[in-house]
Amino acid sequence: MPGSSVHPGRTARIVGRRYLLHGPGFTYCITTVVLILGAINGQNNLLFAIFGLAAGGLIISGILSGANLMGVRVERLPPRDGAVGGTAGLRYRVHNANRWMPALSLLVEEPDLPRRSGQRLAAACGFVAVVRAGGSCIVEARHACLARGPVRLGRFRVTSTFPFGVTRKSVELDDAQELLVLPRAAVVVGDPLQVSRGERWAPSVAKVSREGDEFHALREYATGDPLRSVAWRASARAEPLLVRVDATRRAGRVLIAFDASDDRATQERIISAAAGLCLHAQRTGRDFALAGPGSAVLVGFGSGPSHVRASLRALATWTQGTPSSSGAAARDRHALRISIVEGDRPLGGGEGGIVVGVDAAATFSHEAPDSPPEAAT
């Protein structure tokens, strides 16, 4: 499909131009007609001149407004994901290819976006006052994110009523892209991932490092090792110069499994809590995996910003199929299960891990955060 992806320097395809005579334009035209009637009736020469002025204004309005948009080329920059409660900024590079005429008073908007996005995004438009002839600039429209999920971006529109507001001109462009609205991440209170009965050292995942915080081993000195890592006392007892090797303490691997609920609001709270836990796990340096109802793994174990982003995107795109009626999900539809696992076997929390209620104020706060999740920005 043409325009399905955006490459640098490639502009969106123009699919149509529209000229709409709206209220002020009708008023202008009617006034012009009344002027000529009055001028003819009264043979009032100043009225004849004013009529000519109005008619000339009408023509120059058409010329200027046509030229205003004729050279406009717009490229929608790759959209950044937004998060519910925050905004998704759709950015456009507006280039004025006209060599003589500047483009003025441009509004860039996604027509009917709330309806097409399933009310996931609110309407908004970007504005630029002047784009000089041959120049370009970036315009941003900040849409409020209302619900998680993918949003397909298609046609967008550049409109202007410059110079006199007589006509509303618009250029419609097509550029298919997709934007993902991530779930709102609930604020995690405390550290619910410290599963009281299970979290412990995981020896197989110890990672050797000189910058660690626990002693791991001694080895021979090698060129380039800092002097402060030399184990002087041990070296005094042995022949070769030894250096101390520390190990980083490794937290447990956490499986975050969320449940399905028939109630949409409850389901969204569960998703929000899961997103909050993902961010919390990343902040506390834990590996984590994400599982959906029926222990279906959505994202495997991992860590780091990209892993968090993948988890949030999985949560954003997760849709409830047939409601689960077995296992833990069937027991409590308002809950998350958190398990510490080693290999494939849960270590803490019993058979299914511990269950955390998503509405428990001691654990989650579902208030809108002041800023969107880190992964969304």
Binding site: L37, N41, A54, A55, G56, C125, F127, V131
Partner: protein, 739 residues
């Protein structure tokens, strides 16, 4: 300066010019100043509130609604009392504008204020066509165009949810807008000139009543009926109406000044309902219609059999050229009773044998004619010593006044006992009485509804204009048994000795009285004090008078070339040898009548279209040259910025910052190569003070943010502060060395 500040100033200028237009149209400097003061006060109030960072104290809805209702009511009352819808409309618009100036500003308000200002300008045109108004409109046009453009920016920014205060509109953007305004105004003026020159005149005149005509009564001018119930200030319009040359019967032009000339127009012999009107003249024996063909010799007009005068005794030929006449019934002005008439272009003449009123029943537009008349009674005209018959008096009170005046003059007051030979002295006694007891003014308050205007003038106000003097004299004459009538016309006093022509202007419109001093013998009496005429003559000899005359000349040129531009002027300018009217006028007229344009041959149309295409092409070429020159000039000015390779296109302050940064590098002895980024170059400065390096690095960071980050990241005020700091640093002149 940000967008709202520029828009606010443009809107204020627009409103002030509209106030001037209304002041000119209403001939009221007080109204103009009061409106301007209210507008400036409201603007200042809102600006102060805006600068203080708070919303202005908005007027409550009930208060604004009440004020609007009051303005509507005032306009309605004014329209009813003065019978002037245009004036009421202007007052209403002025009230709305003053109201909006004091209200809290919302995004759409600026557009509304500009629109109301434009409508005020148009409304003023309906009332007045003076040179002063033309100047005001010439200033209003570009101001309104510029304000309208700024309004579109403001409304669009508001629609995008952006704080309009944050929309930067630097000098470069403002210059762009100004250039576009110039282009738009140039194009609009081209349209105005084209419409002025090429739209056919004389078609459709008064098809919709008085709509579109400059309101009568606001300025001096000839009227077909004298309505004494109207009040208000009457301004003296200098619009040129006609030229009159006098000659004798041999054709020799009379070069001596015989002013004042009383040019008779409407003869008003019926007083009903506070108005002097013409009595019905549909009697075929009384009214004669003469059809004059082009180039025909003079046509004799029928005369009353009772008056047998030698037509050649002291006869004067008047060559009259009226610049604009309406179609169908246009009064023709003559000195006294016309005897013969000739119209070179041919037309239909209606002549009233009783009142000697002559009217053109043909097409409108310029009218030229020659009339032979005898301006004075012959010296040998004898008046029979008969007695006067009874004439119905206007009122008992008027009879008492007339009797007391006559008794004071020693003349018999009872009509049946007074000799007819004393009637002229009686009328002269009334003239003296009126000139002695009443004074002349153009500012007349309207009389009370239940009171007769003439009695109110003679007994209460004792000040008035010529119509009141003439009506009072006629009423006194009728009250004393002497038949009298009011004449409306012009009193020509402005004689140009170089051309031996009387220039007749609107301000020369006058009303006087004719009294029947003998059976069938009517004599002219003018009760208006002649001081005004003397003042007009004396005024020309002073320095101020000469300046006034200079301005009057300008005004005359304006009136001659713009205000009174008619079909004849159009014909002379565009040329048409075959017919009297321009070809497009005939074409449009034939279309308007629904006839086949059989008179317009295809070849003529093609030839005229070719001529029109030449003229239009030349106009379009001129406009195109202006536009191209403007664009070339603009590009030359912006070439420096354009060569920066797309740097800081969206933020003009960034270009300035970049230039200032480079200048700072040069001044500290470490010029930046074109290939090196400013931040890296600043980092390589050695031996510079930490403050200087920090300043340069901060400026470089700002420049990067303005160039590469999203809009709004680098604020204009931050960049301006950085530019100022760099300038201070370079001014101090401390050098550093490169590392």
């Amino acid at each position: 300066m940000n967008l709202p500040a520029r828009l606010s100033r443009s809107t204020l200028a627009c409103m002030l010019l509209a106030a001037c237009a209304v002041g000119v149209a209403e001939a009221s400097s007080v109204l103009c100043l009061a409106l301007a003061a209210m507008l400036v006060g409201g603007w200042w109030f809102n600006e102060r509130a805006s600068q203080a960072g708070r919303r202005s104290v908005s007027m409550p809805r009930w208060a604004s609604t009440t004020l609007l209702a009051l303005a509507l009511a005032a306009a309605g009352v004014r329209g009813y009392v003065e019978q002037d819808a245009i004036s009421s409309f202007l007052w209403l618009l002025a009230g709305i504008l003053a109201l909006k100036a004091w209200q809290d500003r919302r995004p759409g308000d600026y557009g509304q204020m500009v629109t109301v200002s434009v409508f005020m300008g148009i409304g003023a045109t309906l009332s007045d066509n003076s040179l002063l108004l033309g100047i005001v409109l010439a200033a209003l046009t570009p101001t309104a165009v510029h304000a309208a453009m700024l309004c579109q920016l403001h409304v669009a920014a508001s629609a995008a949810g952006r704080d309009a205060q944050a929309v930067p509109l630097g000098a470069r953007e403002a210059a762009t807008l100004r250039r576009l305004s110039v282009v738009a105004v140039a194009f609009g003026l081209t349209g105005a000139v084209a419409a002025f020159l090429f739209i056919p005149r004389g078609i459709g005149l008064r098809r919709f009543g008085d709509f579109g005509q400059a309101a009568v009564g606001r300025a001096t001018g000839f009227v077909e009926e004298v309505d004494l119930s109207r009040g208000g200030l009457i301004s003296e319009s200098q619009t040129r109406v006609m030229d009159v040359r006098l000659a004798d019967l041999a054709g020799t032009i009379i070069t001596e000044d015989r002013s004042p000339l009383y040019l008779r127009g409407a003869v008003l012999d019926s007083y009903t309902g506070r108005e002097w009107k013409r009595s019905r003249a549909d009697d075929e024996a009384r009214v004669v219609v003469r059809r004059l063909t082009p180039g025909a010799p003079e046509s004799d007009l029928p005369q009353r059999s009772r008056l047998r005068l030698d037509p050649d005794a002291d006869a004067v030929v008047q060559r009259v050229s009226i610049r604009q006449t309406p179609r169908g019934d246009a009064t023709m002005f003559t000195l006294w009773r016309p005897r013969r008439v000739r119209v070179p272009g041919g037309t239909d003449i209606e002549f009233d044998i009783v009142t000697a009123r002559m009217a053109n029943k043909g097409e409108g537009g310029r009218l030229e004619y020659e009339v032979v008349s005898v301006p004075r009674l012959p010296a040998d005209a004898r008046i029979a010593p008969s007695r006067r018959g009874d004439i119905p008096a206007q009122s008992a009170r008027m009879t008492e006044i007339a009797a007391s005046v006559l008794r004071a003059a020693g003349i018999e007051s009872v009509a049946s006992r007074r000799l007819v030979v004393d009637d002229a002295a009686a009328v002269q006694a009334f003239v003296d009485h009126l000139r002695r007891t009443c004074s002349y003014t153009l500012d007349v308050p309207p009389p009370p509804l239940r009171e007769d205007p003439v009695e109110h003038f003679m007994l209460v106000t004792r000040t008035g204009h010529c119509e009141l003097f003439a009506a009072s004299l006629a009423a006194l004459c009728r009250a004393s048994g002497i038949d009298a009538r009011v004449i409306a016309g012009y009193m020509a006093t402005e004689f140009d000795p170089e051309t031996a022509t009387y220039l007749v202007r609107q301000s020369h419109a006058h009303a006087w009285c004719e009294a029947e001093v003998a059976p069938g013998q009517w004599r002219t009496f003018d009760a208006t004090p002649p001081a005004g005429i003397d003042e007009l003559r004396d005024r020309r000899n002073t320095v101020l008078g000469r300046l006034t005359q200079l301005f009057a000349d300008l005004r005359d040129r304006w009136n001659l070339n713009v205000v009174t531009f008619d079909a004849g002027s159009q014909q002379r300018l565009l040329g048409s040898s075959e017919r009297d009217q321009p070809w497009f006028a005939r074409f449009a007229e034939s279309l308007g009548r629904g006839e086949e344009p059989d008179r317009v041959r295809a070849g003529q149309v093609v030839r005229r279209l070719r001529e029109f295409a030449w003229v239009a092409g030349a106009g379009v070429a001129a406009v195109a040259v202006v536009i191209i020159l403007t664009i070339v000039h603009a590009r030359r000015r912006s070439r420096g910025a354009a060569s920066e390779g797309g740097w800081a296109v969206a933020q003009p302050d960034a270009s300035k910052l970049r230039r200032e940064l480079d200048r700072a590098f040069r001044r500290v002895g470490f010029p930046r190569p074109a290939w090196k980024p400013p931040l890296r170059h600043a980092a390589e400065l050695a031996d510079a003070s930490p403050a200087q390096r920090a300043l340069l690095e901060d400026a470089a960071h700002l420049l990067y943010a303005a160039t590469f980050a999203s809009p709004g990241t680098a604020r204009s005020d931050s960049m301006r502060a950085a530019i100022a700091s760099l300038r201070r640093m370079t001014a101090s002149g401390s050098g550093v060395t490169a590392g």
